[in-house]
C-alpha cells in the first residue's frame, strides 16, 4: 500500500510535469508566431529589393510609342509610324509577357527554413524518436459528416516512439496538434501547398489516378510545368519507391550549413509533396525510410515506403 507522503509526491510530480508541458507548448507557439512574423517581413524585404523593372520599361515604351504614333499622324510620316508601332508593340509585349510572380530560388529556402527549425525544436523538446508518417486524406468529393471534415486534409504524424501507429479518427478529425493515443504530434506536411499545385497542373486529384499514371505524370509536372528540378526519376524498387532529383530548387535546405534534422525524415517541400502524392494515390501510409544527398546537395535520392495502417 502507498503511503500518503509518496502519494502526495506522485501528485505533485504529475502536476509539475503537466505545468512544464503546458509551458513548453506555450513557448513553442510563441516561437512559431515570432518566426512567422519574421518570415513575412523577410519575404516583403526580398520582394522589394528584387522587383523586376520590366513593368516600368513596358509602360515607358508604350507611352513613347503612343506619342510617336500621334506624331506620325500629325506629320504624315511613315518612318515615325513604323517606329511608333514598334515601340507600342514591344511595350505591350513587355507588359504581357513579364511574369506576374517572379521570385528568386533563394527566397524559397529562406521562407522554408523557419518551419523546419520549428519542427526540429518541437521534436527535440518533446524528445520524439518516431519516423514521420504521411497519412492520406479522404478524397475531396467524398461525403463526410461535418465533424469528420478534418479528415480531408493531408497530415504528417510524428510519433513519440519508433512504431508504425496511426492516430484515432476522432483526433485527426478534430485537427489536434498534440495527440495522446498513440503519443505524437500531427502537423501539416511541408509539401502541402505544392501537392495542390501538382493537382492543378494534372487537372485531377491524386486520389483519382493509379500509381502507374502518377509515375508518368510526376516527372512532367516537376521538370516541365513547375520547373522545380532539372531531372527527376521515380522508380518502384521491391517494396520501396525510389526517387532521384537533380538540381532541385530546394537543394540548399539539405546543405550542412542549414543543419536541419527534420528535413531527412519529413523531406523538403518537394520530396514531401511527392510523399503526399504517393499517400493520396495509394491510399496508404507513407514514410521516408532513407535519403542520400550528394556532398554538393545537387543530387537528392530518397526511398519511400508504403505502410498498412
Amino acid at each position: 500500500m502507498m503511503s500518503p507522503k509518496s502519494n502526495d509526491n506522485a501528485k505533485s510530480k504529475e502536476k509539475t510535469d503537466k505545468e512544464s508541458e503546458q509551458a513548453t507548448v506555450q513557448y513553442l507557439m510563441k516561437t512559431l508566431e515570432n518566426l512567422q512574423k519574421e518570415n513575412e517581413i523577410l519575404k516583403r524585404d526580398i520582394l522589394k529589393s528584387k522587383r523586376t523593372p520590366s513593368g516600368k520599361i513596358g509602360f515607358i515604351l508604350l507611352a513613347i510609342g503612343a506619342l510617336t504614333l500621334v506624331g506620325s499622324v500629325v506629320n504624315t510620316s511613315t518612318v515615325l509610324a513604323f517606329i511608333g508601332l514598334g515601340l507600342t508593340f514591344w511595350g505591350a509585349l513587355f507588359l504581357f509577357a513579364r511574369p506576374i510572380k517572379f521570385v528568386r530560388g533563394s527566397l524559397l529556402d529562406s521562407t522554408a527554413i523557419s518551419s523546419y527549425t520549428t519542427i526540429d525544436r518541437i521534436v527535440q523538446d518533446l524528445n520524439y524518436k518516431g519516423k514521420p508518417i504521411y497519412i492520406p486524406p479522404y478524397p475531396k468529393e467524398a461525403y463526410l459528416p461535418e465533424y469528420l471534415k478534418g479528415l480531408k486534409e493531408m497530415i504528417v504524424f510524428i510519433p513519440a516512439e519508433d512504431v508504425v501507429a496511426m492516430p484515432t479518427i476522432e483526433e485527426m478529425a478534430e485537427k489536434q496538434f498534440l495527440l495522446k493515443n498513440p503519443k505524437g504530434i500531427c502537423i501539416a506536411p511541408p509539401g502541402y501547398g505544392l501537392v495542390s499545385l501538382f493537382e492543378r497542373e494534372l487537372k485531377t486529384e491524386f486520389t483519382q489516378i493509379k500509381l502507374d499514371e502518377l509515375y508518368d505524370a510526376l516527372p512532367a509536372i516537376i521538370i516541365n510545368n513547375l520547373e522545380l528540378a532539372k531531372e527527376f526519376e521515380i522508380n518502384p524498387e521491391k517494396d520501396l519507391i525510389h526517387i532521384k532529383i537533380i538540381d532541385s530548387v530546394y537543394q540548399d535546405l539539405y546543405s550542412s550549413e542549414q543543419s536541419i534534422k527534420s528535413i531527412h525524415s519529413i523531406g523538403c517541400p518537394l520530396t514531401s509533396a511527392i510523399a503526399c502524392a504517393l499517400a493520396k494515390t495509394t491510399g496508404k501510409l507513407v514514410a521516408i525510410v532513407k535519403d542520400m544527398i550528394s556532398p554538393d546537395s545537387k543530387t537528392i535520392e530518397m526511398w519511400y515506403q508504403t505502410l498498412e495502417a
Partner: protein, 68 residues
Amino acid sequence: MNFPLSLWDISLWIAITAIILLVTSELLAPYSDYFGDFVIEKTRLRLAALLLGAAFMVTVLLRVVMPH
C-alpha cells in the same frame, strides 16, 4: 491628318515582327528549366508570336480577297 501606313505596310511590319518573335520563342523553347534571370514568360511570348503570325495570315487573306 491621316494614318500614314496602308494595310500592306502594316502587313509587312506584322510579318517581320512575327518572324522575330517566332524565332526567339523557338530559340528559348529548349530552355524549359532555368534560364538565368530571364524574366519573360515563354508561353506568353509564344502566344504573342502565334497571334502575330495569325494576324499576318489574315492580312494575306485580305490581299487575296481584295487585291486592290
